[in-house]
Amino acid sequence: MPLIIKDEYPEKLFREDGKRLDGRELNELRPIKMEVGVIKSADGSAYLEWGNNKVFAAVYGPREVHPHHLAKPDRGILRVFYRMATYSVFDRKRPAPGRREKEISMIVSDCLEPILFLELYPGTSFEIFIEVVDADGGTRCASTTVAALALADAGIPMKSLVSAIAVGKIDGKQVVDLSGIEDKAGDADLPIAITWYNEEISLLQFDGEMDLDEMTKFLDIAKDALSKIHQMQLVSLKSKYITLKEGEGEKKR
């Protein structure tokens, strides 16, 4: 029913002044805020605001595997549980986890696993819980980015961070960091993540239409944007430690 009032997509996704509807340039990111250590009982945690997205991530592990038969004798396992709050989207989501949530959980897991040394933790599991409490396009990228922070906060050895972003095409133009409306009304969507230890791609999806030249350009603009995200991740991890140095044991919220 709510569909009736909101899901009227604008005819154009650019304003008269050539900027995007939210005032951004083609290659401009939405405002981002990162914070680590927000969930007291977790082994590591982080919080990310990215435009209107609000996402929590918590890491538990290495710990015993439940159920036991999932354990692997020669390595640890990584399990990611991506969930959206019922109220995080326009039409209330049903409370039980849906297919989409399971699919994104798998994608995020595939994207984080390369940065871990799971072979050092035989028989155990790492569990990452991700809760999207407000969603506005790009939640899989936001989730990947915040989960990497939570892993780092947990002090788990990592080859590097991983950063993710969605680039795409709206009204025929290539842009970075699609907003929710740009994602729905746009022409193409390419979420991508880079693991910094080898500068390779660990998440890649695409829906839309592109030729080979367009693909090359997408990969170029994504890489620029991902470098910015990576810097922010590094700063947020550092500033937390700074904070901790200033007032040992205190945690911000």
């Binding site: 029913m1 709510p2 009736i4 009032i5 927000v38 969930i39 007291k40 009982s41 977790a42 082994d43 209107n52 609000k54 929590f56 991530a57 918590a58 538990y60 549980f81 969930r83 709050a85 019922t86 109220y87 995080s88 989207v89 326009f90 209330r92 409370p95 039980a96 569990e127 819980f129 991700i130 809760e131 409490v133 407000d134 969603a135 506005d136 919220r253």
Partner: protein
């Protein structure tokens, strides 16, 4: 970091208990003292009302969504509000994945009854057209951090969310449902501001607002919802018993403490009044 899943030892229980006997809490509070509440409202852009409430380190983010449905035949001009709670495994190693367990059902139910029986929501304002169309509200609570006393945190979170509500106003025109462009807000909907107060019991000691270590050694709890002058809901839980005199004393305490808390929280400041 505290491993909350450990079996709480008898020693620890005795430590908590011996402090309580001296009317002291492990976090320094008195028996009838709340931890600090902090409240932010309307933080979720996708929700039609929301609140981010912490009590000590316990944190619940609640959001309001709605649907339009037909009313119950026996209440043809009243809308409906349902309350759901999820104890996210993100928040605590004590919470497990899967369908709602007893603890989340209890949280939702006690908060729901606290609202329902205090006439908190003017359900007739949720009627769009008698017998035909009413708002169905979904008040969904997500526990983000767990440090004990989810119920009182949830109670404040639910009321604040309702106060911050902004529902698009609908009317039934010739072509069915139409939106006026105005909003129904917390200003229109909320009637009473019930609070729910939860007490723990260990041995024969009773105390307000148990934190997580206390909750883990509690033998039982009791939650009492009150409006300004009346008790509107009670829920005893846990495998313990309370004397009749205890119950009478707690009824009195609840009315006193809630009056003070009500002033401190000043919940009306979270009312949305955009029209």
């Amino acid at each position: 970091m505290m491993n909350v899943k450990r079996i709480v030892s008898r020693i620890e229980k005795n430590y908590i208990l011996s402090n309580l006997r001296k009317e002291e809490r492990i976090d320094g509070r008195g028996l009838w003292e709340y931890r600090k509440f902090s409240i932010e409202s309307d933080t979720i852009a996708s929700a039609e009302g929301s609140a981010d409430v912490t009590l000590g380190d316990t944190r619940i983010i609640t959001g309001l969504k709605y649907d339009i449905g037909t009313p119950f035949p026996d209440l043809p001009n009243e809308g409906v509000c349902t309350v759901m709670a999820e104890l996210l495994p993100l928040a605590s190693p004590l919470f497990e994945r899967g369908p709602p367990d007893e603890q989340s059902i209890e949280l939702a139910r006690v908060v729901d009854r606290g609202i329902r029986h205090a006439d908190c929501i003017q359900t007739q304002k949720l009627c769009i057209k008698e017998k035909e169309a009413v708002y169905i509200l979904f008040l969904d609570m997500y526990v983000i951090n767990h440090d004990g006393n989810l119920i009182d945190t949830g109670g404040v979170s639910a009321i604040t969310t309702l106060l911050s509500a902004h529902l698009p106003e609908g009317i039934i025109g010739d072509n069915g449902l139409e939106w006026t462009g105005k909003y129904l807000t917390g200003d229109d909907l909320v009637n009473e501001l019930p609070l729910v107060l939860t007490y723990g019991k260990i041995d024969d000691i009773i105390f307000l607002d148990p934190n997580l270590p206390e909750e883990l050694v509690c033998e039982g709890k009791i939650s009492i919802s009150v409006t300004e002058k009346k008790i509107t809901s009670i829920q005893k839980s846990g495998a313990t018993t309370f004397s009749i005199d205890d119950i009478k004393m707690l009824g009195k305490k609840s009315l006193e403490i809630s009056q003070k808390l009500r002033k401190e929280l000043n919940l009306l400041q979270y009312k949305t009044s955009i029209k």
